[in-house]
Amino acid sequence: MENTLELRITSTKDYTEVIEINPVKSNLVSIFTSLTSKGLNRMTDKQIEHIMCTSSLAAFN
């Protein structure tokens, strides 16, 4: 019955849920973490965006 009524765009075949009861306090630190610290400090792992594409992110979408 759980969640059956929700129409969820994230319901791909890969979608999973993990429930942690009473998580450790240190987990809350990440509430204050910027997106750049989580990986948005670059566009590509090799950081070529500042070199080969000093234009908008892509000329096509």
């Binding site: 750049t36 566009m43 090799k46 070199i51 000093t54 992110l57």
Partner: protein, 396 residues
């Protein structure tokens, strides 16, 4: 089943009904209200009021409980969200664009419907105005992909060239599997033919000849992907378009090229720069040495561009299934569209604010001697070296 939900704000209570298959958060979102503006409570009697998280499904709250959503800011939502809607309807609508207006009399909205003709007309006018003010070169190179966005350039620039006979446009499309399929170029050709526009299609051989490459384009791409990862093909594509466009500028004695960057393209680039504390690059004109990249579609939402040629756009997306991209690129585009959606024209307003801050003080891009790359000041010198080594193998 519908459940009664009380929305409490400092300016009054609003009694609403919510579909109980939603979470409380989902219910607020259906009303364009950011959930982080509310705390939810349930109670049977006033004394037993109990706070509950917004991700609670409404059907899980016992039927005899009242559901209260308390606004945690002293703001009057009537000033923020439309209390009156005016519909501007057209026949055969494809999209509807909300416009918010606010002031002493509260907030209202106009829903502008657009059909294919009115979308084309709107975009054409925008392109005409932009090019009239901006284009300096006699000949201008225009890159189009065969997708929705850039194809709108054909019609707009055709109109411009009729009014300004001294201006000439050279359209080009690159065919390069797997990034740009032949079918996309065929759509671009079809369109240019319709408007009697000079259109060049560049396949591998033509690109290699134009750029005077020492090796094949296929090998260049393969080595690029091996080096930088197979989810970076978009960046390769952008680079390829740029170097072909700049080479064509030289060939046709032009100093300007046009690409179809739209509102959310520019916005995503901008958000990325701002969140990283980096000075953004200029728009809608960006200098690459003495060559200027012009972006006539810079303030037009992507959804409006796609509405101009919905069938072309659909074919284009269907051909791009299974494309890989970096997670960063996926997120940043999502954020750009999200900002624009949260409050209409919020993204545009941020873009215009940044334009004001930088005005004539945009960062300059300098060419790396002997290479057609313009690293920004944030490029890592080691990475520049790595890219140059790759380019050296394929270009003189």
């Amino acid at each position: 089943m519908l459940r009664s939900v009380i929305i409490k704000t400092s300016s009054g209570e609003i009694n609403t009904e919510a579909d109980d298959s939603l979470t409380l958060e989902g219910f607020l979102r259906t009303k364009r209200i950011p959930p982080n503006l509310f705390q939810a409570y349930k109670n049977i009697e006033q004394e037993s009021i109990e706070p509950i998280p917004l991700d609670t499904f409404i059907f899980k709250i016992p039927d005899d409980n009242k559901i209260i959503l308390q606004c945690i800011r002293n703001i009057d939502l009537k000033d923020v969200l439309p209390q009156k809607t005016q519909f501007e309807k057209v026949s055969n609508p494809i999209i509807s664009i909300p416009e918010f207006n606010f002031g002493e009399n509260g907030c209202s909205q106009i829903i502008h419907e657009l059909n294919q003709d009115s979308a084309k007309e709107l975009v054409k006018e925008k392109i005409l105005n932009f090019t009239r003010i901006t284009c300096e070169s006699k000949t201008i190179v225009v890159g189009i992909s065969g997708g929705g966005d850039s194809n709108t350039l054909a019609q707009g620039l055709k109109e411009f060239s009729i009014k300004y006979l001294e201006k000439k446009f050279v359209f080009f499309t690159i065919v390069f599997e797997p990034i740009w399929p032949k079918s996309a170029a065929e759509r671009a050709s079809e369109l240019c033919k319709k408007y009697s526009l000079n259109h060049l299609v560049y396949g591998n051989k033509e690109v290699e000849d134009l750029l005077g490459m020492k090796g094949s384009l296929d090998d260049f791409y393969k080595e690029y992907i091996d080096k930088f990862g197979n989810n970076t093909s978009h960046f390769f594509g952008t680079y390829l378009i740029s170097i072909v466009a700049r080479k064509l500028c030289k060939k046709y004695d032009s100093t300007e090229y046009i690409l179809g960057f739209n509102r959310e393209d520019i916005l995503s680039d901008l958000i990325f720069s701002l969140m990283n504390g980096q000075k953004p690059l200029s728009f809608p004109i960006r200098n690459f040495g003495n060559i200027r990249l012009l972006m006539p579609l810079w303030d037009i939402p992507k959804i409006v561009l796609d509405a101009c040629y919905p069938n072309y756009s659909l074919s284009n997306y269907n051909e791009r299934r299974g494309e890989q991209s970096t997670y960063q690129r996926n997120i940043i585009y999502y954020l750009a569209h999200g900002i624009e959606d949260m409050y209409p024209n919020l993204g545009l307003s941020i873009m215009q604010g940044v334009q004001k801050i930088f005005d004539n003080k945009w960062p300059e891009l300098k060419i790396e001697n002997g290479y057609d790359i313009f690293p920004s000041e944030y490029a890592n010198p080691e990475k520049i070296k790595e890219v140059k080594e790759l380019l050296k193998k394929y270009f003189d």
